[in-house]
């Protein structure tokens, strides 16, 4: 913006305040314009294909119908209908239990594996490849695999139990075991992604810091707690938020494996929404439940940001 010659530089000092402000405004406009150019390619499809349908969905939650036929405004009618539906309260509970179990399990395992892969680099590509493979499996396949694994007659789990002398388990016939199967299936599926993610985050941490700590006498776990974890914080925040959002929306595995059974013990929120919308044609109630899901996730995400977010000032 400045001309760069000495005469120009001295001239600038004699700019009036108004000129100065205008120049500043022009600079900021140019800067913002460039920034908008960066975000534009994303925002066009985003607005068209995410924002518009989202607001449409929210509006639909206050109506009956609206997709196949014309919408009929019912205000809070849908909300009242679903609040008295025991399947919904059950679904909220099941989803919460599932999410807690799944997130704790997958994060622990992924962090452990990432630490190992970070430390022992030889042959790590083979392990990375192996862990990626479940990610490639479509839901139909995951359902098939776990149906086979939990099968009463020839499922691997029951074969092992028999070999160890225990009774066989009717896994998909028991509420807690069925939910546990969903947890295991989703953890098995997501482990590769989270391991890769934590590995990339660990590799982001400069080795010198850890070396310095080691030289200062810090042992392995102390190094992990005092150096690694704080530096991982922004990545951890992302991980927790994404994990909450993804796991509260668990659907694929429920759909192919249990369809909410047995006796609605694996009915999750999105499964409830799906049934209402596509099996019963109750679109209003389905969208009301969807908005409820959105509010729940919003609340949990805000809590995560508050707990794990901007504490940089304390650290620096």
């Amino acid at each position: 913006m400045t001309s760069g010659t000495t005469e120009g530089a001295w001239d600038e000092l004699t700019l009036s305040e108004a000129d100065y402000r205008r120049a500043g405004a022009r600079y900021r406009q140019r800067r913002s314009f460039r920034a908008y150019l960066f975000v534009l390619p994303y925002f066009l499809p985003f607005l068209a294909f995410l924002v518009v349908p989202t607001f449409w969905s929210i509006w639909l939650s206050f109506n009956q119908g609206g997709l196949l036929d014309s919408a009929k405004y019912v205000g809070l009618g849908n909300w009242r209908a679903i609040s008295s539906d025991t399947e919904l309260t059950g679904a909220v509970k099941n989803t919460a239990v599932y999410a807690v179990e799944a997130i704790l399990l997958v994060f622990t395992l992924a962090l452990l594996l990432a630490l190992l892969l970070n430390r022992y680099r030889t042959g790590s590509n083979f392990f990375k490849l192996a862990l990626y493979i479940p990610l490639l499996a479509p839901a139909v396949l995951v359902g098939l695999i776990w149906q086979f694994l939990t099968n009463f007659d020839f499922g691997f789990i029951n074969l092992v139990l028999q070999a160890l002398g225990f009774d066989r388990l009717n896994i998909l016939g028991s509420g807690t075991l069925a939910l546990g199967t969903i947890v295991l299936a989703e953890v098995w599926r997501g482990l590769g992604f989270w391991t890769l993610y934590f590995l990339a985050s660990l590799q982001n941490i400069p080795e010198e810091l850890l070396d310095a700590a080691r030289v200062d006498g810090a042992r392995g776990f102390q190094r992990f707690r005092r150096v690694t974890i704080p530096l991982l914080r922004p990545m951890l925040l992302f991980a927790v938020v994404i994990a909450i959002i993804a796991n509260f929306q668990v659907f694929d595995t429920v759909y192919v494996l249990t369809q909410g059974g047995p006796a609605e013990s694996t009915s999750t929120l999105v499964w409830f929404i799906w049934k209402r919308m596509f099996q019963f044609q109750e679109t209003g109630q389905a969208y009301a439940a969807a908005v409820l899901l959105l509010l729940i996730i919003l609340g949990l995400t805000a809590t995560s940001f508050w707990l794990l977010g901007a504490r940089r000032r304390r650290e620096a």
Partner: protein, 307 residues
């Protein structure tokens, strides 16, 4: 990093505590070997857990389906029956489905990578009015389950005029709605914000334009993140079921997941055929994987080398 074992041994010869030092060195080496072995055992266990179930599926794909429930259960088939694979290749549009899926997945991944990185950089390092509001909006849309958006999206796409070539049963119609992934923007923003500001500031002071900074400085450093996002998007879209299901009404536009699902008859679930189809669904991806494996290795090494 200096190897403590060596220094100890170097000192061992001259020190009065020579024997203690060499014993300590041996214990040290033994511990490290032990830890290494334990680590590899753990990794191997998880690798088996990850791949094992797929090998489990190989067996039914080589049998006729009613053999599965014999008692006591036999896992190794007595005769290898390749009819299931033949059925899939001859009686279904499997190859066409594979091609559709490849086009769909690759296109979505490439477009997503480009626009997400650009937007992520803007959110992380550029200043413009409305930044926080827009980012909050991006995050908020992450929390809507896709199942809910499918119906409105379909209605929108199906009403697009013909000259756009982006209606139902077209590739653009299938690809474009999947491109705006809030997850990608979020991830890129987080990664970019861990890069040191000093680097970018220095370049700015030197008069580099934003685009040059982005291309020459930020982008090379983003490799691990781009790899992660690329893999994730690719996987996610490969197994995407709901959206391709509703946006394709003709058999020749279906993707693999949708096509394989249509193999399940109402009453005759031919488990042999389904297992074979599932196995075949994984093969193309594994091949692509192995082809690009070298690049994955180098990208991870880039992350390691910068240390």
């Amino acid at each position: 990093m200096a190897d403590p074992g060596l220094t100890v041994e170097a000192a061992a010869d001259t020190s009065p505590h020579a024997s203690e030092y060499s014993r300590a060195a041996r214990r040290n080496r033994f511990f490290r070997l032990g830890k290494g072995l334990a680590a590899y055992i753990v990794l191997a266990v998880f690798a088996v857990i990850a791949i094992g179930p797929f090998l489990y599926l190989l067996s039914p794909s080589f049998r006729k389906s009613y053999e599965l429930f014999s008692y006591p259960p036999q896992w190794i088939p007595k005769t290898f029956y390749t009819g299931n694979f033949a059925t899939i290749l001859h009686e279904t549009s499997y190859l066409r489905w594979g091609l559709n899926t490849a086009i769909f997945t690759v296109s979505v991944t490439l477009i997503t990578l480009v626009i997400d990185t650009l937007a992520g950089y803007a959110f992380a390092r550029l200043r413009f009015p409305g930044k926080t509001v827009l980012f909050a909006l991006v995050l908020a849309t992450l929390m809507i389950p896709t199942a809910v958006l499918i119906a409105p999206l379909y209605i929108m796409i199906s009403h697009l005029p013909g000259w756009t070539h982006s209606g139902v049963n077209t590739f653009p119609g299938m690809i474009l709605p999947m491109v705006a992934s809030p997850l990608g923007v979020f991830m890129m923003r987080q990664f970019i914000s861990t890069l040191p500001e000093a680097l970018v500031e220095a370049a700015r002071l030197d008069g580099a334009s934003e685009w040059q900074i982005f291309r020459k400085i930020v982008l090379p450093l983003m490799k691990p993140a781009i790899v992660v996002l690329g893999i994730f998007t690719f996987m996610f879209q490969w197994v995407n079921f709901l959206w391709p299901l509703v946006i394709t009404t003709t058999d020749d536009m279906k993707t693999l997941t949708v096509g394989v699902a249509s193999l399940q008859g109402q009453f005759v679930t031919n488990w042999g055929v389904i297992s074979a189809a599932a196995v075949m669904t994984m093969v193309p991806v594994i091949i692509i994987f192995l082809v690009f494996q070298r690049w994955f290795v180098q990208a991870s090494m880039a992350g390691a080398l910068k240390q």
